[in-house]
């Protein structure tokens, strides 16, 4: 059960690393977050601890319902559907993620914890999306994937205080909100959300 859910997370994230359309990226993110929520639910059911249930509830509410709404709203407002010019094209990004994950798993060969491994894979894909894409909204999605990796990482730790968990989740939510507003302002100022245009100085 948990293995199948981790597989969904890994496959959806590898798929997201080369996709151009923002709608598909958001869909992959929703899938991934729902799988993380279900993993937390299953762990809560197995161990009987309350904080897993709380984490599952927070993840599902913020990442499956609220964040896609924010992203879709800003996409609609900006009338931007896809990332046209990639710094690393889809071909190379898939191969890069594959090799990166291979190296990370090779370094982690002592650990038998699949949560940590999947979390590391999400870190790699999130960083790739942040570095190799030009549109600000894709970079934000990259950060959200990175943040999903952090959630998986802390699921693997047995004892984690509730305050930190809630902090991580709300930080992601605030980030989505702030970035939504900021991207709108970037678009207003530069007439595009391409981060390259930050280099042009304006009065």
């Amino acid at each position: 059960m948990i293995e199948a859910l981790l597989t969904i997370i890994l496959i959806s994230s590898i798929y997201m690393s080369g996709v151009r359309r923002i709608k598909l990226l958001t869909g992959g993110f929703v899938f991934q977050s729902a799988a993380i929520g279900l993993i937390a639910l299953k762990l809560g059911y197995d161990t009987g601890e309350v904080h897993y249930y709380v984490l599952a509830l927070l993840t599902i509410i913020t990442k499956v319902i609220i964040m896609p709404l924010i992203i879709n709203k800003s996409v609609k407002k900006l009338k931007i559907n896809r990332e046209m010019e990639l710094m690393v094209n889809a071909f190379n990004s898939y191969i890069l993620t594959g090799t990166g994950i291979m190296i990370a798993f090779g370094l982690l060969n002592k650990s038998h914890n699949n949560f940590i491994k999947t979390g590391i894979a999400l870190f790699i894909i999130g960083v790739l999306l942040m570095v190799a894409r030009k549109k600000a909204i894709t970079q934000m999605l990259g950060f959200l994937i990175f943040e999903n990796g952090i959630v998986l990482f802390e699921i693997s730790l047995t004892k984690m205080s509730f305050v930190i968990e809630a902090g991580i989740v709300f930080e992601g939510l605030m980030l989505a909100l702030i970035m939504g507003i900021m991207i709108f302002h970037i678009n207003k100022t530069f007439d595009s959300i391409n981060t390259d245009s930050f280099e042009n100085l304006k009065e």
């Binding site: 293995e3 890994l10 594959g98 060969n109």
Partner: protein
């Protein structure tokens, strides 16, 4: 080396029943799209009609078009005898995965040559597209064979399905390899994200473009071989990746149960293909090729996971 008689019987069943399964697939697609659709026996009628007709060969074409279709049919039927269907055992027998892979390569290369041989423009276009797609799918297939070898320490497909049928809870890497095999299956059989098997529109066809100049019994052989090829790929998927419930002893009850479970799994796979073909759109050639690096990345991850643990 001994060849079990029962292997022979079950492989004959595949060859005879594959048009029926394709008929079921077409019926499923018709129902999903909301129309009645033709009878599930329609592929048999089509083959019968084609076999009654004579063969017309372009006077520009060479001996390749004369002997190609029968070689394709022969190679495909050979692959049907190399796979377990609903009974498997640990006996030493034929069934090496590499032989399967290269038999399919024979099919592919003769289809490409037939496309080039008739010197029509469509044929050359279809051949180049097919070669492009199979160039991408070949390393993927090698990755998956490597994965199966590391998982079971065996190249024989009968032994692989015997060993895997004892596992109840599969690991993460097994699911990942299964997903990449499904994509490989869709690519090798000219199914929808890569090629539309139903259309004769010049911009989209790949497999159909190559066999456009064949007629009569030649066309029937190529069609039958494409049916058998799809069913053989589905059976490799079922018996290598989800072989739970396959019969491992030659008792009546085990065989009956194995057959029943096999039919249910096969119908489930056909339903999956029907759903994919009705919901997805055919992607552009170079956009479709972008799926392969993703799948190769999945293969790398699967091999790393199973090799390290």
């Amino acid at each position: 080396m001994r060849y079990n008689l029962f292997y022979f019987i079950q492989s004959i069943l595949i060859v005879v029943l594959s048009p029926l399964l394709i008929g079921i697939l077409k019926k499923m697609k018709a129902i999903l799209r909301g129309y009645v659709g033709s009878s599930i026996l329609q592929p048999y009628y089509d083959l019968e009609k084609l076999l009654k007709k004579g063969r017309i060969i372009s006077n520009r074409s060479s001996f390749i078009t004369t002997i190609g279709p029968i070689i394709i049919l022969g190679a495909t039927i050979t692959t049907a005898f190399f796979i377990p269907v609903f009974y498997t055992s640990m006996e030493k027998s034929i069934g090496n995965l590499f032989i399967l892979m290269f038999a399919f390569a024979i099919v592919k290369i003769f289809t490409v040559l037939i496309g080039l041989d008739s010197s029509s423009t469509f044929g050359g276009m279809g051949s180049s597209r097919e070669a492009f797609i199979s160039m991408m799918a070949e390393p993927l297939m090698l990755f998956l064979i490597t994965f199966l070898y590391i998982e079971t320490k065996d190249f024989n497909i009968f032994h692989i399905s015997f060993i895997n049928s004892n596992i109840v809870h599969f690991k993460m890497e097994h699911y990942i390899a299964m997903v990449s095999f499904i994509i490989c299956l869709l690519a090798e059989n000219a199914r929808i994200p890569f090629d539309n098997p139903e259309t004769h529109l010049e911009l989209t066809m790949m497999h159909e473009a190559m066999i456009l100049d064949l007629s009569g019994s030649d066309l029937a052989y190529v069609e039958l071989s494409s049916y058998i090829k799809l069913v053989v790929y589905l059976i490799i998927l079922i018996n290598c990746y989800i072989p739970m419930g396959i019969a491992t002893t030659l008792t009546a009850s085990a065989l009956f149960l194995g057959f029943l479970i096999f039919i249910i799994k096969l119908l489930f796979c056909l339903l999956g293909i029907a759903i994919i073909e009705t919901t997805f759109a055919k992607s552009r050639l170079f956009r479709g090729a972008e799926i392969f690096p993703a799948t190769i990345a999945l293969g790398i991850v699967a091999i790393t996971l199973i090799y390290i643990l």
